[in-house]
Symmetry: C2
Subunit: 115 residues, 2 copies
């Protein structure tokens, strides 16, 4: 074995900056591929590939219109990610990092205590 399946879920789909950009653009409305190509400044095939990944996790839906394919956002699969993160929302509001800082400093002290 080498790597676990990757782009198979929304987490991975969204880990790619370009794909996030695509979603951001589609959030404004339906768009044909060439629009995205222009806006992203990428080559058309790469955009199509990213769209494929997004389609596979159902983050985008397509609609044929003549020779164009209009892509549209489907945010639904993002919800599990959001839900997962919600657990941590509290954590970063509390000042645990203050304790971290203290611990880190103690650790530092410890490290160069005897050089």
């Amino acid at each position: 074995m080498a790597r676990a399946a990757t782009t198979a879920d929304a987490f991975n789909a969204v880990a790619e900056p370009r794909r996030r950009q695509i979603l951001d653009l589609l959030a404004q409305g339906e768009r044909p591929v060439n629009d995205l190509v222009a806006l992203l400044g990428l080559a058309q095939p790469q955009v199509s590939k990213h769209l494929r990944v997004l389609r596979e996790v159902d983050l985008v839906r397509v609609r044929d219109e003549g020779r164009q394919r209009l892509y549209r956002l489907n945010a639904e699969p993002l919800r599990p990610i959001h839900d997962w993160l919600r657990k941590y929302e509290q954590v970063w509001n509390e000042r645990f990092d203050l304790m971290d800082t203290i611990l880190a400093e103690l650790n530092e002290e410890d490290s160069h205590g005897d050089d």
Copy 2:
């Protein structure tokens, strides 16, 4: 060029299921590596590697204690992800997907309209 740097940011760090598990465990409190090894059922080196990735994006902090290394969650870097997702929160609450369904059906009709 081949791939853009990957594990360099929190998005990618969190895209790995095992790493999410690790964070989930650390959310309960500080833990030494071997604890995680036992709980995850992974080999120790793999756990250390995942921890390294998490450390590099500052999602975990370490503290030496004797020959143990106690890892602790730092949720802070998750906030940008959460923020990014918040934009879409509204989208999946609205019933845009209803329109999607309709459009999809129209498209379907269209596809096998003339067989």
